[in-house]
């Protein structure tokens, strides 16, 4: 059975929502004219989520379920889902009923148009004001620093071409940054407005201390993106302020020595200059180490262009004109 669409849903303590979730997906799935599968991942839930899944599995042939031994995080759960997904297109969703499965056909349409990643945009968010406001700030910052301008990075409802997401080898808390990561190697990304339902069951698993984590993730993600092509250049960017301060304090301390402001003793400018020099040398050394690691590694992020390149035309190519269905990643415009 060749499946076209895989719906991946990571779950953590969602025993109240899961039956409704599954029935919503199945209801929307009645209108699909292709084969699809649903992959539910139990990320170490401490309630009855898994028992419910086991019960539901008997009635639903499209359902595939993965139970993780302990809570591994949303990214890890998603990756587990990706590794077991056999569809050509993967759609990720939230397990708490905030996303609506009936938006899935809209996402798929965009993929058919040639995009590699389609992100959902929760235009009318039903959360409280503070959360929405902070989200807006975070989205702005991520959009500006990574260059991928999406209005809603936090929306879990996204569609990906399977190759694009599988080769990213995500870890940590990267799931928010899948679009940014994929874009650096040429994936075409777009967003469409989707519906948002307020959270009806359970509590939100996120608190305000997430802000700090998200921002430090943004910083790390930027570094990784810059690093993957040239580590030293990525560090050069970081090192620039230190270099400027070193020059500034170096000049000031030379002036202080020439005019003998501190009678031959060490002055503060000198200390500041040395500290900045130290930081500079540290960064250079780390940059060299980074170059070494990059040149030794598999560089999977540079494999993506092989997948996201688009064939514009191909003439006289007998091998290529095999029987491709319309859902493959190469669209031959001949």
């Amino acid at each position: 059975m060749s499946v076209y669409l895989s719906i991946v849903v990571p779950l953590y303590n969602e025993e109240d929502s899961i039956e409704i979730l599954l029935s919503n997906i199945l209801k929307a799935g009645v209108n699909f004219d292709f084969e699809y599968e649903i992959i539910l991942i139990d990320d170490g839930s401490t309630d009855n989520t898994w028992e419910l899944i086991e019960r539901l599995k008997e009635a639903t042939p499209e359902l595939k379920a993965i139970k993780l031994r302990q809570n591994c995080g949303q990214t890890a759960a998603m990756v587990a889902g990706f590794d077991h997904a056999s569809g050509e297109i993967i759609v990720t969703m939230d397990g708490d009923l905030q996303n609506d499965p009936s938006d899935i056909p809209l996402l798929l349409e965009k993929i058919k148009e040639g995009y590699d990643i389609v992100s959902g945009w929760r235009k009318n968010r039903k959360d409280n004001f503070l959360r929405v406001f902070l989200s807006k700030i975070a989205n702005n910052i991520i959009s500006i620093t990574t260059g991928v301008k999406l209005h809603d990075y936090g929306c879990s409802l996204k569609a990906y071409r399977a190759e694009c997401i599988k080769t990213l080898n995500a870890y940590g808390e990267m799931h928010r940054f899948f679009p940014a990561l994929a874009s650096m190697t040429g994936a075409r990304i777009t967003e469409i407005p989707v519906m948002h339902h307020p959270r009806t069951y359970g509590k939100s698993k996120y608190g305000l201390n997430r802000i700090f984590k998200v921002f430090s993730d943004i910083f790390a993600m930027n570094l990784i993106i810059r690093f993957s092509s040239s580590a030293l250049k990525g560090f050069a960017l970081l090192a620039l302020p230190f270099l400027l301060f070193f020059i500034l304090f170096g000049i000031l301390s030379s002036v202080a020595i020439i005019y003998d402001w501190t009678q031959g003793k060490a002055n503060l400018f000198m200390i500041a200059a040395f500290l900045n020099l130290m930081a500079l040398i540290h960064l250079i050394i780390l940059g060299i180490l980074g170059e070494l690691i990059v040149s030794m590694s598999d560089l999977t992020h540079t494999q993506l262009p092989e997948i996201t390149k688009k064939t514009i035309f191909s003439i006289n190519d007998k091998e290529h004109n095999k029987d491709h269905t319309s859902a493959t990643y190469i669209t031959i415009i001949d």
């Binding site: 874009s183 650096m184 190697t185 040429g186 994936a187 075409r188 993957s228 092509s229 040239s230 580590a231 030293l232 250049k233 050069a236 501190t262 003793k265 060490a266 000198m270 200390i271 040395f274 020099l277 130290m278 040398i281 540290h282 050394i285 780390l286 060299i288 180490l289 170059e291 070494l292 690691i293 990059v294 040149s295 030794m296 590694s297 598999d298 560089l299 540079t302 494999q303 262009p305 092989e306 996201t308 390149k309 688009k310 064939t311 514009i312 035309f313 191909s314 003439i315 006289n316 190519d317 290529h320 415009i333």
Partner: protein, 308 residues
């Protein structure tokens, strides 16, 4: 399939289709089978518009497009699997060398050589550009101890395995001849005539200059220390530490033997700073050692030429 001719399209020049036609005719008149691949590095819909010009070609023509402008190294690696030729010929978006020189380059690829480096004579770009190029190439030659005189020619001819086995990433495509020589591939430098010069002239941006300098720097490390990288770090670390140690001893000696007060001396700060940097470098060396052990094991140190 003997030749895979790859056109790396960086900018949309109007002459490009005619250039492709001339190259096609050149190869067609030779007896070896060839194929043409075009990869557009973020040039928008230029390729779609010229599709019809190639429909009467009698060889395989494939055209690809990357939506975002990435480095040339990434471009080439991304279409490596689409090439079936044994020898890869990489060309730019405009004709940089004359037809005769190009034929000469093709013919000089014999069974012994793996990569051909063109060296442009009688360059047509402005003197300032030539001067910059001269300085750049001389610096690279000095640092990597190779003999390659022209790194910015857009025409390159090499065997397929050169692309597969060298570690190309970032902006390293420009230095492909050097990386190939380091891996042990045989190279030959052939003189050729410049035909057109349509590249960027005058001053480049600061980012490009610093980028080039950093590239030379990382080239230095990858050529000199890729086999034994950690000794480099640990050795500088040790040197810094020892200098700092010597300075500290001297300062303390002065303090206790001659009574000079040392609390405010700049050299005290310098000595401590050197010792700290020394320890840091040495520990980075250790870290690198660990990395090389865990991740670098798959990368083989040798490069096989033939197995009988």
């Amino acid at each position: 399939m003997k030749y895979s001719v790859i056109f790396l399209l960086e900018e949309a020049h109007e002459d490009f289709p005619h250039y492709v036609e001339r190259i096609y005719e050149l190869f067609f008149s030779r007896s070896d089978p060839f194929e043409i691949l075009i990869i557009a590095n973020g040039t928008g819909s230029f390729l779609k518009n010229i599709k019809t010009m190639f429909s009467n070609f009698n060889c395989v023509v494939k055209a690809f497009e990357l939506s975002k402008k990435t480095s040339q190294a990434v471009c080439l690696k991304s279409i490596l699997n689409e090439c079936n030729g044994e020898i890869i010929v990489v060309l730019g978006s405009y004709q940089q060398i004359t037809q005769d020189s190009f034929i000469q380059l093709l013919n000089s690829m014999d069974n012994e050589t793996d990569i051909i480096n063109p060296r442009r004579q009688n360059r047509l770009d402005p003197i300032f550009n030539q001067f910059q190029s001269l300085v750049f190439n001389a610096l690279v030659r000095k640092i990597t101890r190779t003999n390659i005189h022209d790194l910015s020619c857009t025409v390159r001819i090499f065997r397929r395995k050169v692309l597969g086995e060298t570690e190309l990433y970032g902006d390293m495509y420009r230095f492909l001849p050097i990386l190939a020589v380091r891996k042990g591939f045989k190279s030959k430098e052939v003189k050729c005539e410049n035909y057109q010069a349509k590249g960027k002239t005058g001053f480049y941006s600061i980012k490009e200059y610093t980028g080039r300098v950093i590239d030379i720097f990382s080239l230095y490390f990858s050529t000199r220390f890729s086999r034994k990288p950690l000794r480099f770090f640990s050795s500088i670390g040790l040197i810094f530490f020892l200098i700092g140690m010597v300075m500290i001893c001297y300062i303390f000696a002065e303090r206790y033997l001659k009574g000079y007060l040392i609390g405010n001396r700049p050299s005290l700060i310098l000595a401590i700073f050197l010792m700290v940097i020394g320890i840091q470098s040495a520990s980075v060396g250790l870290l690198g050692e660990i990395f090389a052990f865990t991740h670098g094991r798959q990368k083989k140190e040798y490069s096989i030429q033939k197995i009988i």
